[in-house]
């Protein structure tokens, strides 16, 4: 599957607004991911070609940034904070509950492809700790109890 005309156009626009093809590489990766869920080898190459940069160059960014996914992820990505303030507010119990409920560990996707669970650093939600970012819009949720998060994912189960 090639990238949609909309995504392709958006990548071209990014090069204009970001001061050149190179400076737009990360934005291109984000556009691809927003449309496709993750950045496959084929789409990486296609985005590079649209920008006129090398695949290696754009991959050097894709592999550097934690929120660019180079392999498939579930429909809903849960980024669970493992920072200190969340830990102090009971984050580990939430982590254990969600892992048990989904039957997966960090960096894994449920067999039905519904959820991916990833641990991330402080997400600036220490006032609502323990906190997580859920879904493509990175919606901040918290303070989470073990029950809350299992309820949250329960809806999609």
């Amino acid at each position: 599957m090639t990238l949609s005309p909309q995504t392709t156009q958006a990548i071209r626009n990014a090069a204009d607004s970001h001061g050149g093809a190179k400076a737009a590489m990360l934005e291109a990766l984000k556009l691809v991911q927003a449309a496709e869920g993750y950045v496959s080898d084929a789409h990486l190459a296609e985005a590079a070609a649209k920008l006129g940069v090398s695949t290696a160059e754009i991959d050097s960014l894709a592999t550097f940034y934690s929120h660019i996914f180079r392999s498939p992820v579930g429909e809903t990505v849960i980024l669970l904070c493992d920072g200190l303030s969340c830990y102090l507010c009971g984050g580990d119990a939430v982590r254990d509950a969600v892992m048990q409920k989904l039957g997966i560990g960090f960096g894994e996707t449920t067999p039905d492809g519904k959820f991916t669970l990833i641990n991330v650093c402080c997400i600036g939600g220490c006032d609502v700790a323990p906190a997580a970012l859920v879904g493509p819009d990175r919606k901040l949720v918290g303070p989470l109890s073990a029950d809350d998060l299992t309820q949250l994912i329960g809806g999609g189960r």
Partner: protein
Amino acid sequence: MSETPLTGRAQPDREPHRFAEWQRLGGYDALRGALKRHSPEALVAIVEASGLRGRGGAGFLTGTKWRLMRKAAEAAGEGPRYLCVNGDEMEPGSFKDRLLMEALPHQLIEGAMLAAYAVGATEVIILVRDAYRAAAVALTRAITEAESAGLLGRNILGSGFGLKMRLHASAGRYIVGEETALIAAIEGERPVPRHRPPYPAQSGLWGRPTTVNNVETLSAVPHIVQNGAEWFQKLSRTEEGGTKLYGISGRVNRPQLIEAPMGTPAGELIEMAGGIRDGRKLLAFQPGGGATAFLQEADLDVPMDFAHVKKAGSSLGTGAVIVLDDQSCPVAAIGRHARFYARESCGLCTPCRDGLPWVAKLLDALEAGHGTQQDIDLLHMHVELAGPSGRSFCDLMAGAMTPVKSGLERFGDIFAAHLKGHCPVGRS
């Protein structure tokens, strides 16, 4: 109630104001006034007189930074000049810039415009971390609104001053907040730090004169310009001007963001956050995020400004106060941070890339109760390696080792107890 110029106008649901509404609240008055009445030089002088210190962590005097930029820009001659707004905010415990960007985007934009006018920048680029999607949406809309109102673009309000502004959305890497890495990130390079000197003012974005300022720093600027340096000075309880956004989190009853006079002691802030959770006692607190040294009971009345916290042996950092109570294991807390910094090392230099995972592993072993005295000795070795005469390329490693160093100093007995396989304070 003390004055809260930075956050007072935020709506409870954090919904950002539309342009017209913001103008009714006095938005862009400072900009309109400044373009009419002040030369760029005069604006620098006002900010210099206000004593504003950078809120990104280091506390560098903003007026001084701007003056250096003007000098360097003169030497660099014709061409573009940049102001980069640092909205990366990934220091553990910090959540102040999130509110300023999400709920008060026009305030930041006006501050950035004033700064750009003062330093002679031709373009402003606001870098926002990926976790702050609501902030990116709010800022994008606000920039469009300001453009439509003729406050961005060519010849703004007939002043002859022109300015472009845009967003750069990041994708989740802590090192991007370091100013030279931030510049590399905007250029589309793999964002690893660059050598200083040359400083960004001399050779920054695309080799051109560049100023990097934090979101909170710039959000204070419209108020300083509108109300004067003296007013700003008087907001503070100490020599350092202004209010400060303090984030209180961890073992308190009501974790929250508090805008208070600069120099408000941590004890008062913790009380405002409902006190230590469940009536427990304080063990220690970090005054300014993950990379700051622990302080304790005796330091609760230290005025929380850059100079006083430094004198107490730590640093104000981002003003993110992380509270440990007497049931929080400091070995575990330090380990959390260590794992974070190890993961976020950009990999450029060996001491940081290889040293921090080692440190994290040592702390893991100690936390789990099967560490040895040799592990503690190795931690001391890393502290020395990263120390003031540090051997790492940028400040990430020094910052990462700061809580380790201060933890070893303050909690030697707790570390020793862990050697015997038990934690004297931990909850579990």
